[in-house]
Amino acid sequence: MTLDQLNKQSASEINSANSRADLDELKTKYLGRKGLVNQLLQSLPKEELKNQGRAINSLKQTIESRLNKQLKKIQTTQSTKQVDVTIPGIKPPTGHLHLISEAIEEITDIFKTLGFVRRRYPEVDTDWYYAEGLNIPKDHPARDDQETFYISDDVVLTAHTSNGQLREMERMKTPPIKMINIGKTYRRQASNTHNPMFHQFEGLLIDKGINMTHLVGVSNYFAQQYFGKDRVIRLRPHHFQFTEPSFEVDINCHICKGTGKVEGKRCKVCKGGWLELGGAGMVHPTVLKNGGIDPKKYSGFAFGWGIERVIMMKHNVTDNLRELYTSDLRFLQQS
């Protein structure tokens, strides 16, 4: 093919191309390593090469610019074509973080903002850290409430994260102590709505001059960060062997706005406008002593709340804790 033929043919072919793929093909056909332009170059005898070299190079540029021009034209035409932009997108396969992981992260972040450092302590622990050191003697009736799984007489599967209290005191040796211990806990409880395994987060703050209002402050901060700005907490009396005084922490109900009534009827979610968040208290002097800390110099508070419980309160996912432990991907892939 002559230079002129090549010029004309390429012009007509490029100008009639109507897709990007066609243009790509034409680019290879004319300008590729073994394309028509190169073929022409190679077919020329040496002396002609000198004469036509410049012309061939200029043809290359012409073809290049024709290709670009046509591409723009195609793009312009295509972009004016009406497309149904409401057609659902093609979804990539996605993974899903479990609600419990999400909550653990959220809770970690909230307490981190307040300067609590996250810890992890054993789930399988000795009776000392789990009970006796927490002021619960071996034959005390308080052990009834613990619903504990035993590995041996002296080793348990912890039913609360409070075993971390003494361990943290031993690790830090002297206050200030400010930790949030998040872990798995176990209760020997047969029911359709409880799982024998669940998670707790345990806060512990020990320093000089720590008082009850600080527990209120930290609880309120958590409630507002986790549940929403309009939430508040209150303390009520309770009893735990390892705190004195001990409290039940309630949070106002978001459904009835703390009134206990919805359209004149009793609120179905709460008890009189309040929901139980969990237990808390001022660290018992005996526990401080057992942790090697002088209760005359230092005081502190502790709380241990259920992760699943706060998830259920926040997301209304279910009132059955067991559902969080489903393996049904139709549920898990919703998160």
Partner: protein, 662 residues
């Protein structure tokens, strides 16, 4: 423990105009929690939770004492009335001189206080309607007027009371002693218990056991419609023994739950007097003996010091000295000395419970109202907030996996023996619970994989062709020490993905965590894997886990078909070996030449790759393309950071590499 208390019984001791709803609300706020109110036709019943240290409030009188103090704080009219502690022996007037029974107490520590009196000729019939409805409201069955009085007394005062048919006690003799191992007693509910020894029992004059003390009376001496002489019997027992007996005989009676928490011995006599009065009123019985009251060691008065300045600091309030003393006195405490250093005398019913200033702080502040406390953030700041890196690494890894399309699952740490045998392992090396709930939840996991395979199996019905799930949790590996090693472990399981794809996911994950790893054909892989298609994963020469095809036999145990690829990593080790400081490599500023190179070799591809990477300083990167039998093709980016490479230079490097690989 929970009690059910009718409002009409409460108001026998509480004079107030507050409604049951109001009382319930304020009690919950400052005292015992009222879980629920039940409306009856003519009454309202409170469901009250009695916490273990407050057995003194497990009765109508006990709740009234709390309510009287608390309602006052809310400016309501309230007054405690009919206080039984005011009753004395004089209220029984002149007593006959004869002994009711001959009592021998073999060990006085068993029975801190022992009181009884005989009455004769009770007219045994049904109880008055009011008593019957109170007992019904408390879920107790009315029997006859004599027995009902004993149950009513327990509801009124929280002191269990028993009554014997005196004529059925052989030899009119009672020997209070420890039980011997193997002794048998049949209790009133018809159950026969073989005793373990060390229980508190009463033997009559013929050596028969007539009472399993503090738990339930023996069937030999119960009151029936023919009873002519009765013995009214009020005691306190050593709490620990009662608790032990009650637990192992599984007789968690109301009496045992009260006795095991340590009730006030000072209340024994008042309750006995009230019992006599009620028997006289309702059955016409007359007192037929003098009073036995064995009380060798009344508890000593207990004093706890309270500094009111400390209390204000500890509570973070400005509560006044006057308010502190008035609350304490309303609860039955007496205060002496000058503020701020008070000497507080504990009332008899709180002696076991109040030991420290903190205990008094609770009493004062709960009545003052915890809800009045201000909300203040503590000023404490830690100078060092570093913690185990695994806690943050776990979160990172989870997010990377989710980004790669994996779904997270939380499984129980407790598993069955079958979960071990399903993967060809034995449960013998796992921790076993002493008191499992069921055989499904008997062992602590040593691997996460059986749970994840089960999860895949549970989702067999899904239409999704590809499934990818993971779990990051502790496994529990028994050690010679007392406590096991709790090791963070990461497991991935996929269905419908090839080994190469899953390996790609794993490599990406580990790359994201900046962990350099090598894969080698696995030796001694766990039996769950197919040996020929499993790699051991190493980092810094340490084995961090395995990736491989699940053994078809194992898949079959979980009713799974098709290609199942699994990964198991020791995540603690991953976290330890992870490079937390990652350095970036500058992007080349000179032109690179990218060329394929094919090498013929029988060596593993990973080895060839490693060798290529360091074959020449101008090799910027190498990636694997494909293989045909022993011909492996790699794509190499050549770059000289100082100047552009020429084709001739590249060709010369290439031929050196190929020569070197031969």
């Amino acid at each position: 423990m929970d009690i059910k208390l009718p409002h009409s019984l409460l108001t026998q001791y509480l004079d107030t105009d507050a409604t049951p709803k109001y009382i319930a609300e304020k009690l919950s706020l400052c005292g015992p929690t009222v879980d629920r109110l039940h409306k009856l036709e003519k009454d309202t019943v409170y469901d009250i939770e009695i916490i273990t240290n407050r057995v003194d409030s497990a009765s109508a009188f006990g709740v009234a004492r709390e309510a009287a103090t608390i309602l006052k704080e809310f400016k309501f009219h309230s007054k405690l009335v009919n206080d039984p502690y005011r009753l004395t022996k004089k209220d029984l007037r002149d007593l006959p001189t004869n002994q009711p029974v001959d009592v021998q107490i073999m060990d006085s520590t068993l029975v801190p206080r022992f009181a009884c009196i005989a009455l004769s000729n009770p007219d045994i019939k049904d109880s008055p309607q009011q008593t019957q409805s109170w007992l019904n409201a408390a879920d107790q069955r009315p029997l006859n007027n004599v027995i009902d009085i004993t149950n009513e007394l327990a509801l009124r005062y929280g002191q269990p009371v028993h009554v014997f048919d005196l004529d059925k006690i052989k030899g009119s003799k009672m020997i209070v002693r420890e039980s011997k191992k193997g002794e048998k007693i049949t209790t009133l509910d018809g159950k026969t218990h073989t005793l373990k020894g060390g229980d508190i029992v009463i033997e009559d004059g013929e050596g028969r056991l007539i009472d399993l003390c503090g738990i339930m009376g023996g069937g030999l001496s119960d009151v029936d419609e023919n009873t002519k002489n009765i013995l009214l019997f009020v005691q306190t027992y050593e709490p620990k023994r009662i608790r032990r007996t009650s637990l192992y005989t599984q007789e968690r009676t109301l009496a045992s739950q009260l006795f095991e928490k340590g009730i006030d011995p000072e209340l024994v006599l008042p309750v006995l007097i009230r019992g006599v009065q009620l028997l006289q009123e309702r059955t016409g019985a007359i007192i037929n003996s003098h009073l036995i009251d064995i009380y060798p060691q009344p508890p000593q008065t207990k004093k706890v010091s309270l500094n009111t300045d400390w209390l204000r600091e500890f509570s973070g309030t400005n509560i006044s000295d006057q308010k502190i003393t008035s609350i304490l006195s309303s609860l039955g405490f007496t205060t002496a000395n000058k503020v701020p250093n008070l000497a507080v005398t504990v009332p008899s019913w709180r002696i076991n419970d109040i030991n420290l200033p903190e205990d008094l702080a609770e009493e004062v502040m709960r009545v003052y109202g915890y809800f009045k406390l201000e909300s203040i953030l503590p000023p404490t700041v830690l100078t060092d907030t570093t913690t185990e890196s695994v806690l943050t690494d776990e979160i990172d890894a989870k997010h990377h996996l989710v980004g790669l399309g994996f779904t997270e699952i939380f499984n129980n740490s407790l598993v069955s023996a079958a979960s071990f045998s399903h993967i060809g392992e034995s449960s013998e090396r796992a921790l076993k619970l002493k008191n499992p709930l069921s055989t499904d939840l008997e062992y602590l996991r040593t691997s996460l994989l059986p749970s994840l395979l089960q999860n895949l199996s549970d989702n067999r019905g899904l239409k999704q062709k590809q499934l990818a799930i993971f779990e990051l949790a502790n496994v529990y590996l028994p050690k010679d020490k007392k406590l096991p090693l709790e090791q963070a472990s990461l497991a991935l399981v996929t269905k419908g993905h090839s080994y190469a794809e899953v390996k790609g996911y794993l490599e990406t994950l580990l790359n994201k965590l900046h962990l350099d790893v090598t894969f080698t054909p696995a030796e001694n892989a766990p039996s769950l894997f197919t040996p020929a298609q499993t790699a051991a994963v190493f980092s810094s020469n340490k084995l961090i886990g395995h990736i491989g095809l699940v053994n078809p036999e194992v898949s079959d145990n979980f009713s799974l078909t098709g290609e199942i690829v699994a990964v198991s990593l020791n995540f603690d080790l991953v976290s330890t070996l992870r490079q937390h400081l990652h350095h970036f490599k500058p992007v080349p500023t000179t032109a690179s030449v990218i060329e394929d190179i094919t090498i013929n070799s029988t060596k593993p591809v990973a080895e060839l790759l490693e060798k290529l990477k360091s074959a020449h300083p101008y090799i910027y990167s190498v990636s694997y393309k494909n293989s045909h039998q022993n011909n492996h093709t790699f794509t190499i980016e050549f770059n000289n950071p100082k100047k552009n490479l020429t084709q001739t230079e590249v060709n010369s490097i290439k031929s050196k590499i190929i020569k070197g690989s031969e």
